[in-house]
């Protein structure tokens, strides 16, 4: 049963990644696109965690942690650039 549930959740996260991609392409303003990227990296962490559960190994959690760190830092950096016109003043 668990394998079927993992496949269903894979499909759900794939659909939500496609929706985020649509917002990233269409999105009328720059903050919309940053928000879409932010959501995309969170969904990618979910995908990696699910893949690790599917393979039965917890080796992929380091990659998920790295993506979480770098995604947060990049979102804050781009927002700072939008706000100030400069990242480090």
């Amino acid at each position: 049963m668990l394998e079927t549930v993992i496949l269903i959740v894979f499909a759900m996260i794939g659909v939500s990644l496609l929706l985020n991609l649509w917002r990233l392409v269409v999105g009328p303003s720059i903050p919309d696109r940053i928000l879409a990227l932010d959501t995309m990296y969170i969904n990618t962490i979910a995908l990696i965690v699910l893949y690790g559960m599917n393979m039965g190994t917890s080796l992929y959690f380091e990659a998920a942690l790295l993506i979480a760190l770098l995604g947060f830092v990049s979102t804050v950096a781009v927002c700072k650039y939008l706000l100030r016109g400069d990242i480090i003043e």
């Binding site: 985020n20 917002r23 699910l50 927002c79």
Partner: protein, 109 residues
């Protein structure tokens, strides 16, 4: 029994992530679109990571702290990035529909 709990947590997490992304696409303006990723998706990720923790604790190599680390990190950083995004949206004076303007629409009593 444990399999049911893990499956329920996985399905809940997946549906919450899907709801967050649908909200990102369907909402009319940016100030509403911010709600989906900052609330629903973060909760979905927390559910998924709890499911992973239960899975590895039950089938794998024992309970590890890494899942708690990721979920704590996401729960802490999601409000900060939401705050930065809403600040830059206000700074850029994005278009908003009439009902998200806030104070002008509060009825006087």
């Amino acid at each position: 029994m444990m399999e049911w709990v893990i499956s329920l947590l996985l399905l809940l997490g997946g549906s919450l992530i899907l709801v967050g992304s649908i909200g990102l696409v369907k909402m009319p303006d940016f100030f509403m679109r911010l709600h989906g990723p900052t609330k629903a998706t973060t909760l979905g990720m927390a559910c998924l990571l709890f499911a992973a923790m239960a899975y590895y604790g039950f089938y794998g190599e024992g309970v590890s702290v890494k899942e708690i680390l990721i979920s704590m990190f996401l729960l802490i950083t999601a409000p900060i990035s939401g705050y930065m995004l809403i600040k830059s949206a206000i700074h850029h004076r994005l278009d908003s529909i009439e009902s998200t303007r806030g104070k002008d629409n509060i009825e006087e009593d």
